[in-house]
Amino acid sequence: MRSILRNKMRSFLTSLGIIIGVCSVIVMVAVGQGSQEQIKKQIASMGTNLLMVMPPRGPREGNRLSMTDVEKLRAESSYLSAITGEVRLSGTYVVGGSNYWSTSVYGIEPDYLTIKSWAIKEGDFFTEKDIQARNKVAVLGTTVAAKLFPDEDPVGKSIRILTTPFTVIGVLKSKGSNAMGSDQDDVVMVPLETAVNRLTKNRKIESIEMSVVNEDLMDEAQTEVTAILRESHKLSDKADADFSVMNQSQILETASKTSQTLTTLLAAIAGVSLLVGGIGIMNIMLVSVTERTREIGIRMAVGARRRDILLQFLSESMILSLLGGIAGILIALSASYILRRFMNTPTVVSPAVIAFSAGFAAVVGIFFGWYPARKAASLYPIDALRYE
């Protein structure tokens, strides 16, 4: 114990590995769990009656969703209160006034507003008529409006998306950033038909989003939507679906699975640094055993048993790693507080993670302290006493 205090600088540097390791594990997991929480909250706030149709994941086949599918669903389903097809063109250049801006362009139908609970701040949203007529009208998110028309009212102005001119008919109410921290107001919305015909090449839509009239009818609605689409795609009974219908909880699951994978990955990387910290402790303990061979000899001469020496060195390495662990936890707690408070990053520090990393630090201390301690304990008293 005293030898730890005697070598303050060395002890600190040795613990530093553990401090950093523990700290990064906790912070990484905190950030990961924080964003997971936020995703859950956000998806929950969209309402629990949401259904979504998407092309299947993976490279198996191309997307077969089309406008026809949307029309069929609209016409035949009895459980849907709102439906919209959707295409998204991210990183699209939009020119307006004397400015330009790279943003996401959504091709959607008016129901999108209700499904995703958007609201209009100024002007109007486009109507079913605009869709049918493939009118070149656009509604801007507040971020895009501010970038293109910083000093004037954008409503009535003309903008160009890629090469096509559009007229701005409205501005959306701001929604702020989402769980992943991206700005939801950085968006331009145009009628789906217009987008499909003017802005995309393959004339496919990317997803269909629907609201079900009643939450209790989710299962029925999902079955019905699946049936309608299978028929529309002329799939035989045995064929795999070339689309997937997901409800709220399934979307949630997918989203949190993704962020869980990310969290695990981050924690694993941080865990490696904990391991490296442990090796640092082993290294220092080995040096310390060599350096203190004479001391070991003296202790043995006055009656220390092997176990006494073993425990002495083992407890030293354990104390080092435990102190490091405690310091790491404290730093991690303040770091995640700072992230949450001042940097707008959601963080959730769970007691389980703290317990786990503290326990892991102690285990690292024992594991990497064992070998040097054994080495010290197995010295012969005469050799140790004679050691120069």
Binding site: R2, R6, R294, E295, G297, I298, R299, M300, A301, V302, G303, A304, R305, R306, R307, D308, P381, I382, L385
Partner: protein, 253 residues
């Protein structure tokens, strides 16, 4: 009563292809209250004998009865306990823990005491230090003490567990004449109070303060004689200081 009974102790070392017979059958009895000097040129087996007596090393053959107990079959842990309770070590190089106060050094054997007796380690260590004249230096670390003082701390450490005998290995080897005599005063005092002292040395000047002297050569005892003209260390110290007063003064500071 014999504190130590050695019978036919042998010890061989194998260094590479060569086998060294360090001890070739040592028979030795040491009675309680003796003050024994072990002399001999280097390579005579002094150190090996001392390691054997100190239970730091197992003899290859023979029997070693310490304080009535056969030790040659002891396990390393039993050896550790024997060292802790029966033997007080004083080394040539002092062998104190550096950066550790005098009193903590003296407490060390008590720290490893497993007898389970309730002992006030601090008090006993302080008493031992007072006995060697360092009552005012309890919290000094070895590098704040002179060589003579360090050796006295070591002697205090050797006595603190009230061992069966004190085993000193060239205790004056690193000290000047005055300090050497001081240490011998201490040993004579201890011996007068009944402590058994065994001292390994190659200096005849120091051996004359003992009561009995054995000489080793080639791993065997070649002579075992009582010291007839035993000197009194306290008297020598007084006369030496009178003769070298100024020098002593300088060394003190």
């Amino acid at each position: 009563m014999a504190v130590i009974e050695l019978r036919g102790i042998r010890r061989q070392y194998v260094i590479g292809d060569i086998t060294v017979n360090a001890l070739r059958g040592i028979d030795l009895d040491v009675q309680k209250g003796e003050f024994l000097a072990v002399m001999g040129p280097s390579g005579s087996g002094k150190s090996t004998l001392m390691n054997t007596l100190g239970c730091l090393d197992k003899p290859g053959a023979g029997s070693y009865i310490l304080d009535g107990l056969e030790t040659s079959k002891a396990s390393p842990d039993e050896f550790a306990d024997i060292r802790n309770k029966k033997i007080g070590f004083v080394f040539q190089g002092f062998n104190l823990l550096s950066r550790t106060s005098a009193i903590e050094n003296v407490e060390l054997p008590l720290f490893y005491d497993r007898s389970g007796k309730k002992i006030n380690a601090r008090e006993r260590a302080a008493a031992a230090l007072r006995e060697v004249g360092l009552g005012d230096r309890l919290d000094h670390t070895p590098n704040q003490l002179s060589g003579g003082q360090q050796q006295r701390v070591a002697i205090a450490r050797a006595m603190v567990n009230d061992p069966a005998f004190i085993l000193a290995d060239e205790p004056t080897g690193n000290l000047d004449t005055e300090m050497s005599i001081e240490i011998m005063v201490l040993f004579q005092e201890l011996n007068d109070r009944g402590k058994t002292v065994i001292m390994v040395t190659h200096e005849p000047d120091v051996a004359v303060y003992c009561k009995r002297m054995i000489t080793l050569r080639d791993g065997a005892i070649v002579s075992d004689t009582p010291i007839t003209e035993r000197r009194n260390a306290s008297e020598d110290l007084v006369s030496w200081r009178e003769k070298n007063g100024h020098l002593a003064q300088r060394n003190r500071t």
